[in-house]
Symmetry: C2
Subunit: 483 residues, 2 copies
Amino acid sequence: MNFKAVLKALGMLLVCEALLMIFPLVVAIYFQGTDISAFFLSILITGLFGVLLSQIKTGKKIMYARDGFAIVSLGWILLSLFGSLPYLISGVIPSFIDSFFEAVSGFTTTSASILTHIEDLPKGILFWRSFTHWAGGMGVIVLTLAMLPSVGSGTVQMLKAEYPGPTPGKLVPQVKETAKILYKIYLFFTLLEIIILKLAGLPLYDAFIHTFGTVGTGGASNMNASVGAYNNINVEVIITIFTFMCGTNFTLYYQILKGDFKAPFKDDEFRFYSVVIITSIILITFNLYGDIFSSLWESLRHSSFQVVSVMTTTGFATTDYNNWGMFSKTILLILMFIGGCSGSTGGALKSIRVLLLLRVMKRELLQVIHPRAVYSVRLGNKTVDEKTISEILGFFFMYILIFMVAVLIISLDNLDWATTITAAVASLGNIGPGFGIVGPMGNYSIFSDLSKLVLSLCMIIGRLEIYPILLLGIPSFWKKTNL
Amino acid sequence: MNFKAVLKALGMLLVCEALLMIFPLVVAIYFQGTDISAFFLSILITGLFGVLLSQIKTGKKIMYARDGFAIVSLGWILLSLFGSLPYLISGVIPSFIDSFFEAVSGFTTTSASILTHIEDLPKGILFWRSFTHWAGGMGVIVLTLAMLPSVGSGTVQMLKAEYPGPTPGKLVPQVKETAKILYKIYLFFTLLEIIILKLAGLPLYDAFIHTFGTVGTGGASNMNASVGAYNNINVEVIITIFTFMCGTNFTLYYQILKGDFKAPFKDDEFRFYSVVIITSIILITFNLYGDIFSSLWESLRHSSFQVVSVMTTTGFATTDYNNWGMFSKTILLILMFIGGCSGSTGGALKSIRVLLLLRVMKRELLQVIHPRAVYSVRLGNKTVDEKTISEILGFFFMYILIFMVAVLIISLDNLDWATTITAAVASLGNIGPGFGIVGPMGNYSIFSDLSKLVLSLCMIIGRLEIYPILLLGIPSFWKKTNL
C-alpha cells in the first residue's frame, strides 16, 4: 500500500467532513440548542486532524487498486469515527460505541438507531444525523461509478489492473465529469423535495431532515414514529415517489437529460426493480386488507409506502409493520435482500445482481437439458461475460456468508429470532429498521457493544459492496508498495 | 424425453417398492396390528401398477441425460405417492396430503412428521416410516454416484453429454460395481448398529427403527421424545457415532477396505466436516453450561448428540433444543444449511460445497489484491476447474432462492418467524425438526395443505440436489425424443 498517499487522501476527507459540520452548527445556532459548543469542538478536532494528515508529502503519485480500496474503506470508518464526535461531546449519546454506531448508520445511509426519544434531542444533532445520510448517499453515487464492481462499466477492470496506473491524474477527469453531472441531479432532487415537502405542509426543518433521508435512501426521521407521525397523505406520496426515484440508477436521469426519455423503459434493471415493487405492493395490499386495514385504500397507502421504503433500503415507516401478517413481513424481508438499483443511493444486493442471478439460474437449467446448445446471459442487448457472472455469484455467496456470521455473533445477545435475524439483514442491506425489537417503532439500543460493533461493520461492508472492507483483513493488503 | 423407457423404469421402481412393503407387512403380522390389511392392499396396488408399467415395450434403448433426471425425479415422487398408501388405507393418517407428506419425508430421509401420538400407532406403520428412510438412503448413495453433480466425478459430465449414449448398457456396469460395494457397506453398518443397539438395551424393534433412522440419516423415531425417551447414554453415543459415520462419504470406507486407512484424514471434505462438528460441539457445550445444564458433562452429552444429528441432517433429538440459548440455536441453524458429506446419506448443501465456496471466496479476495497472480482453488491435490466452481456457486444461489420462495409461501400460514423459516430450512436440508412449532418435540401438523405440499416439494428438491425437480418445470424437458 502507498501509505503516504492513502493518509493524505484520508486527511482531505476529514477536512471535507469538518466543512460539512458547519451546516449542523448553523442549525444549532439558529435554534440556540445545547449542541452549539459540541459542533464547534468537533469541527476543530476533525479539521485539525484533517489538515495535519493532508500535509503529508507523497512521493510519486502512483496509486494501485488496493490504495483506492484502502481510501474507501478506511475513509468510511474514519468519517464515522469523527462523525460521532458531535453525539459524544454534546452528551446526547454518552457511550462511544453507541455514538460510533449512530455515525456509521448515518454515513452508510442505514438509519439503524440506538436513540430512543428522538423528539427531545437538539435540532443540530438530528440535522447532523440526517445530513450524514445525504453526504453518504453522495459518496456512494460516485463510489459506484469509480470503484465498485458494476456490470457493463469498464472502470472496475481499470482499477483492478495492477499496472503502475491508472494514476489519479488519468482516472480522475473522466470520473469527475460524470460525477459532476450526477451531483447536480442529486442536488436538484434535494432542493425539489425540500420545496415540495414544505408546500405539503411540513415545517422547513422537517422537510430538510426527511429530504436528506429520502435522497440518500437513509431513513432517519426527527420523529419517533417516523413519517407516520404526520399522518399526511401528501407527504407520504411525495416521499414514496422520491425514494423510488433515488433507488433508481442515476445515470438513467443523465440519459433522460440528454433527451433519451425512453431510457428507463429500455433498462432491464429498472424494469425488474419496478416489477418487483409493483408486485409486492399488490400482494401486501391484498394480504393486509381485511386483517389489518379495513379499507383497501388504507391498505394500498401503507403497503406502497413501506414496499418502496424497504426495497430502496431507506427505512422510513408510516405504521408499525411488525403487526402485519407473516406473508407481508416475509415479502418485506425478501425486499431487504434485493435492494435498489446499481448506481443509486440504495443498498443491499442490488436489483441488477438479483436479476442476473435469476437469468443465470434459467440458463443453467436449460443447459442441463441441452448441453450442446450455447446459452448466454443477456442484459439489455449486451451479453454478460462469464467472468462477471462468476463475480456476481461469488458476491451473492459472500453476502449470505457475512449475513450468517453476523447473525451468529449477535445471537450471543440471546434475543428472539426476528430481532436477531433482521438486525443483521437490515444493517447489511443499509435499511435500518427490521422486525421484532428493531422494528420500525423500535431501535437498536438493546444490543451489546459487541453486537453494535458487528452491526456497524455490517453496515459499512454492505455499503461498500463487501470487497474494500474484507480486504482489510488480508495481510498482503497492508504490504508497503515499492516505488 | 423417451417416455416409454422412463415409464418402464418407473414401473420397475414400483415393483421394488411393493417388494419392500413385504417387510412392514411381516412386522404387522408379527405384532398382529390393525395395519395388516393396509399393507396387503398397498402391496397389491403398488405391485399391480408396477408390473403394468414395466411391461411397456421400449424401442431402441437410447436414453439421454434428461431421461435419467426424469426417472429420478418422477421416481421419487411416485415412490412417495404409493408409499403413502399404508398410512392412508390403515387410517392412521386420514388425509391424503398428510400421508403424502409423511411418505415424502420418509423416502427423502427427512423425518418431518405430521404425526402426533407416535407411541399409539401400529408397529407396522412405524416400521414402514423408518424403512423408507433406509431405502431412501440407499437410493441416495447410488444416485450421488451415478447422477448428481459431484466434484471430481466424471459421471456427471458423462450424463450431461447429449450424445446418443451413454446407453444404460455402457453406464450401468461401472456404476453397478461401485454401487454393490457401497451397498454392502451400508448393509454392514445397518446390521452392526442393530446388534449394538440391542446389546445396549433397546428392544429389537426399537433397535431396527433407530438404525434405519441413523444409517439413512432420516431421524424418525418410534417415540414422541425421540432418542431422549430412553435416557440411555450408551444408546446416544452409539447413535452419535453411527450418524457421524453415515454423514461421511461412503467411498472413504471403500478406500479403507482397500487398505488405505489414512483416506479419511487425507480427505479435505471429511476434515472440514469433522472440524465444523467439533467446533460446534465445543461452542454449544460452553454456551449451554450453567444456563441450561448445570454440569459440563450433561452439556457436552446433549450438544454432541444434537450437533451430529443436525449436521448429518438426521434429526434425532435427546432434548428440546428449542429451549437453548439463541447462540446455540443459531449454530444449529447454520449446520442445517451445511449438511453432511457428498456421497453420504446426509442432505443440505453438503460439506464439500461449503468448503469449496469458502476457498473460492478467499481466492476472490486475493485476486483483487494481486490481479496478475493466478490462484486456483484446490481440493486435495487436484485443482478444481472453473466450470465446477461456477456450478457450485450457482447451486448455492438456487438453494437459497428455493428456500426463500418456500418461506414466502408457507408464511401465508401466518405462524411465527422460527417456525416459518426453519420449517423450510429443515425440509430443504432433509433434517426434519427445526425450531418453534416444528422443533424436536413438535411436528408439522399445524401447516395448511398448501404448505405441506410446498414442504414436500422442498424435501424432494433438497434430496435430489435441485436440478432433477426444477427441470420438470421447463417445457422443453418434456419434449419427446426423436429416435
